[in-house]
């Protein structure tokens, strides 16, 4: 239980104890310096108070050993802070392999989340305890920021590309999440609750509504036909554009000789700015879909392309770099 005036939020993720320990360390170091300097000033203030109007102080011009001391000691302590913080940050920015991926879209002024099975939530996020969760963040308009104080993590949600963040919830419960990047009028009410559930409860909750139109793969497949993607991206590689079978996660060979990993960002860019990266052996024929697809539709298309990523790569016209192939 928290007292009436807590000093830190609940600890509910794998990062929380580490961040709090680092906080305690830096606070203690800073307190040491703040208290020492303050005591010195107060002591000098009274001890050397001028009592005779024409008195002067003892001229002391400096001491280079002292200067060296108070440069080197703080520098060493600062490097400890830097390194400790860097370890946590590098861990935070590199998600483990086995994550549960949830798409989160921010728009003025609400959050939409989509579970792997297509289940949608608004201003709510349900996650299982003990599982590594990765959020793939997209924005429909301005920059937002997804922030869960109890998890001690946040990440900006930037229009134009995907950011990701990850955490492992460690305690079931309901925790606030906030938008912490100022995004306009109702920035302050653009938040909601993360519900951390036991894995069995989470599975039951997910089973409560599945399938049909909400499944992103199904929706993506429909879009793939509706938007006529299918006329060029023919599955067997005989079309005017490369087949997308086996594409997701693979290395793609580009016209300029470089290669690129076909991840969410690459797929998104190829849909919105098709001329940015041309696959080797193909003409830049594809029109842009900028402004014609919502972030949700792009995510659905990505989900569909991901799903055909498990299908066999056609022999010809895949665009996938032969040397490395699929991971």
């Amino acid at each position: 239980m928290q007292s009436q005036l807590p000093l830190y939020p609940e600890q509910a993720s794998n990062f929380a104890p580490h961040v709090d320990a680092l906080m305690v360390f830096i606070t203690l170091v800073c307190l040491f310096f703040a208290v020492s300097v303050t005591i010195a000033i107060i002591v000098f203030f009274f001890k050397y108070h001028r009592t005779k109007p024409n008195a002067v102080g003892v001229p002391l011009h400096g001491d280079s050993r002292l200067e060296a001391l108070w440069m080197v000691v703080p520098l060493m302590l600062a490097m400890v802070m830097f390194s400790w913080g860097a370890v946590i940050y590098v861990d935070y920015r590199h998600a483990p392999q086995d994550t549960l991926d949830i798409y989160v879209i921010g728009k003025q002024w609400m959050w939409k989340a989509q579970q792997p099975n297509g289940m949608r939530e608004i201003n709510e996020l349900h996650v299982p305890v003990g599982r590594n969760v990765r959020l793939i963040l997209a924005s429909e308009d301005v920059i937002h920021d997804f922030y869960v104080p109890a998890f001690r993590v946040k990440m900006d949600v930037v229009p134009g590309h995907y950011n990701t963040m990850w955490f492992r919830p460690t305690r079931p419960g309901r925790y606030h999440f906030f938008c912490s990047q100022y995004c306009g009028t109702n920035h302050a009410i653009m938040g909601g609750w993360v519900t951390v559930m036991e894995p069995s409860d989470y599975a039951a909750w997910l089973a409560g509504s599945t399938g049909g139109e909400t499944n992103p793969v199904v929706m993506g497949e429909k879009l793939f036909a509706e938007k006529a993607c299918i006329t060029c991206h023919v599955a067997n590689g005989s079309g005017r554009a490369p087949s997308l079978n086996g594409l997701y996660g693979a290395q793609v060979l580009l016209a300029d000789g470089s290669t690129v990993t076909a991840n969410d960002d690459y797929i998104r860019e190829s849909i919105l700015q098709p001329r940015a990266k041309i696959v080797a052996g193909y003409q830049p024929l594809m029109p842009t879909f900028q402004g014609q697809l919502t972030e949700e539709q792009i995510l659905a298309l990505t989900a569909y392309i991901k799903s055909v990523g498990t299908q066999p790569v056609p022999a010809k016209g895949s665009g996938i770099a032969p040397a490395t192939g699929k991971k």
Binding site: V37, F82, I143, G184
Partner: protein, 558 residues
Amino acid sequence: MSTAPPLTPDRKLPREHYLNATYGIHSWLLTTDHKRIALLYLASVTFFFFVGGIFATLIRIHLLTPTGYLVTPENYNKLFTMHGVAMIFFFLIPSIPAVLGNFLIPIMIGAKDLAFPKINLLSWYVYIVGGCFVLYSFATGGLDTGWTFYTPLSSVYSNSAVTPAVLGIFINGFSSILTGLNFIVTIHTMRAPGMTWFRLPLFVWAHYATSLVMVLGTPVVAITLLLAGLERMFHLGFFNPALGGDPILFQHLFWFYSHPAVYIMILPAMGVVSEIIPTLARKPIFGYSFIAGSSIAIAVIGFLVWAHHMFVTGESTYAALTFSFLSYLVAIPSAVKVFNWTATLYKGSISWDTPMLYALGFIGLFLIGGLTGLFLACLGLDIHIHDTYFVVAHFHYIMVGGAVMGYVGGLHFWWPKITGKLYPEALSRLAAVVLFVGFNLTFFPQFILGYLGMPRRYHTYPPEFQVLNVMSTAGASILALGYLLPMAYLIWSMRYGKIASTNPWPATGLEWTTDSPPPTENFHVTPQVTWEPYDYKSRPELGLAGGTAPLAPAHGDD
């Protein structure tokens, strides 16, 4: 009190000085006298301080309750934006350089004026024109983008008067650039005979470093805001991803200036403190060359830390590591200054006069502001406290606790020189204490609020954050009193204050060898500098016990 600035009841002002040399509104609006231009700035930055202060008052009243009963969300967003814009661009950045720096730098180095007196006047007019654009924006729809103008919110989505505001700040930037240029050339070329670089008062060193930042940094923010304005007006895709722009590019460009801008605010305040402490402790400053060098180090390293505002934008891990590391490096020269000021007090003859209270208050608040910067520079902590009230508390400790304490302390310290009058000592000490207490009560609770997870720029907040917000608002009311008191008695003293001597503290700087207030040409005879800075030993004419002259009442007739 034996240590109060002493008085001679029948002391008279000099017959002619810069204030009475010429009369009429023209003599002020067309003046090229750096001292009069400093007073023009004093009036205008004070105006913007009160505009920003009124916004701040409304913000704190609104935040008394979790739901906020005072203003609508739109208006709350406008309040904090306009508070930031007025305070940062039109008060904090010009305050010490354009008021105290303008007045003092030529006198401190023994010159008659700045190198380009007409450009100095032009700077003020540019500032006023920029200020008018911004006031126009405030009056016609307000501004709700946050003072940071992040795109694409500012360049596409905001419905407020963004265009006149960014134009105003763009124009105002030239005022800063011209002032910085004027200071650099003046300090290089117009020092009096004997005024070597290492005899310069540390106030001048601090302003030299500040000027470098002004000249090199301001053009970047000016052009960045102009680009945001062009994107807004003509839909040119610089930052809007829908037009092929990059919203993160804006942040890089914005912070390339706006982080060093913090040093434009704090370095001059450090310069003020470096004058007050040795003077009121009557001894040479400890580690002169380290304090001077650390000003330059802060200005240089300060240009290399900007992306520490962007650790959670998705910037590359390597960039984040580099900027975190460099941010820790910039902490060292700041620490060096604090240690040297403290060491200067050791075995001093410390007066408890008002400027000393402000200087010590500055050290205390700057210490907290600087140390909490170590929390934010730390990558692992920043992912939690970034964009929370922790940040709000941190930069108010630096900008208000540091820069404003330095500014108000400096105004008191040089008030006798600027006006020729003394302010009421007991009242001013009381005000310094009120300011210090009010400030801490306002902003310290915000560190805890931030760690608890309250994001900044929220017009409404979960009820568990209320207690700390009420404390903060209570503190703000005390803080407001702490600002109104000096405002009142300083204005009062201009007319009714007792007449000051040439050198009331007494201090060793050149500005204290000329009349109070100084003549238009600053000195009747070009001064020759034969002594080291803050050296009381070689200045028997000051009549202090440390000199070789016989003991005399410190402030006899002069």
